[in-house]
Subunit: 210 residues, 2 copies
DNA sequence: TGCATTATCCTCCCAATGGGAATATCGCTA
DNA sequence: TAGCGATATTCCCATTGGGAGGATAATGCA
């Protein structure tokens, strides 16, 4: 089983976790849910197959254990696995792909009512606020405990900063959009004449400023 | 054919395009690539099946035409289709799902070298800059031509604003991260003691400020 | 006029994925 | 001691991604 098939990004993601310490498949699946979900979301059911591919490629080894009568499998990375991971890290990663149904509904909002649009924007905003709170809880935990991998604190800081920037961006947009749309007479409102020109100039300033 | 199966978000997205005007499947597929790719990316090959489901559900009608000897199919929305669309727009959309391999590599960067990490960040930054230029080209076009659907200008403005905010966020993060990492002795650098505390306070100010 | 791209207009296929259901044991608490 | 949530997986199927294939029409340019 788990013979064919090349390694996918998901395989390498799990290999990356194994580089930190050995895990059971269950723990691995949990980690994927907890931290990687935000930038590499994968269905839980698939996660149990990946380590088998890693073993088939000689990048990890499996050790079967027993907890009472229940079996479990602990995976650990091999030297070949570390090398494969390093090689993969050297290559540039794929650009982002965003899937956002709520924003799709904003895009098509001229087929509904102004109230629907406002509700959708408020919904987006509420989601962003909830995410911000989640992020703060995470930061509080790290500020007090230091987290389980002290050598990774710098990188964790990069990641937290990235994710909060996205959430903040969505939140700011939603706050602005709510304000903007609430001034429209209806969803077909023409924005004022020079809006696109102004957005363009803003973007040019923004890009020039770096 | 195309009997079973409930309507997916992709079906509704195409129905939304049909609400603007009739299109051939080819044009529909193009529109999905051009504008929806940014927030609802779908494989090209699937896009030819969706309108058939819409027809099967009575939400669109197909008209077969000939261009010389080559047949084509033009789809148009039905009143039932408009109603289904309005109903769908009333319901809150799913939260965002982001898939970003390059950021995943940042997350695992402590298994590689500092140079790999810096290269990855620069790569991300270059991508963001290219996107900003694409956004500006789009804005320039709209600022001069007004675009094909004048009644949608307000909504287009919301969308452009959203997408540039995301790109700007990624770009700002990459610029900051490059600067930050370049000061580290290596990828395991511990950030300075109070960094998480400071990030937390920044986030709290940010959220409080709205 | 002829020729070579490029655009239009699809269909088919397979491996991979999402998402849920199913199963069973462990360990704690009421 | 019964029940419940956490641990620890497997299986399945409809849907998707991604690429290959193939035909005609319109165009640009030599």
């Amino acid at each position: 089983m788990a013979k064919r098939k090349d390694l996918t990004t998901t395989s390498l993601a799990m290999l990356g976790l194994l580089a930190l310490r050995p895990w059971t498949t269950y723990e691995l699946a949990q980690q994927m849910e907890r931290s990687l979900r935000n930038f590499w979301p994968r269905a839980r059911s698939k996660l149990y197959e990946e380590p088998k591919h890693l073993v088939a490629h000689g990048l990890a080894v499996a050790r079967r254990e027993q907890v009472g009568r229940r079996p479990r499998t602990v995976y650990a990375i091999t030297p070949a696995g570390r090398e494969a991971l390093r090689e993969w890290l050297r290559r540039p990663g794929a650009p982002p792909a965003l899937e956002y149904e709520a924003i799709l509904k904003v895009f098509l909002a001229d087929q509904g009512t102004k109230d629907d649009l406002l509700a959708q924007i408020r919904h987006i905003r509420a989601w962003a606020e909830a995410e911000q709170l989640r992020g703060q809880a995470f930061l509080r935990e790290y500020a007090t405990t230091g987290g389980p991998f002290p050598g990774r604190l710098g990188i964790i800081a990069l990641m937290v900063s990235f994710l909060t920037r996205i959430d903040d961006g969505i939140h700011e947009w939603a706050a602005w959009a709510e304000e903007e749309v609430s001034r429209w007479p209806d969803v077909h409102a023409a924005p004022d004449k020079q809006l696109f020109q102004r957005l363009l100039e803003k973007s040019e300033r923004h890009v020039a400023a770096d």
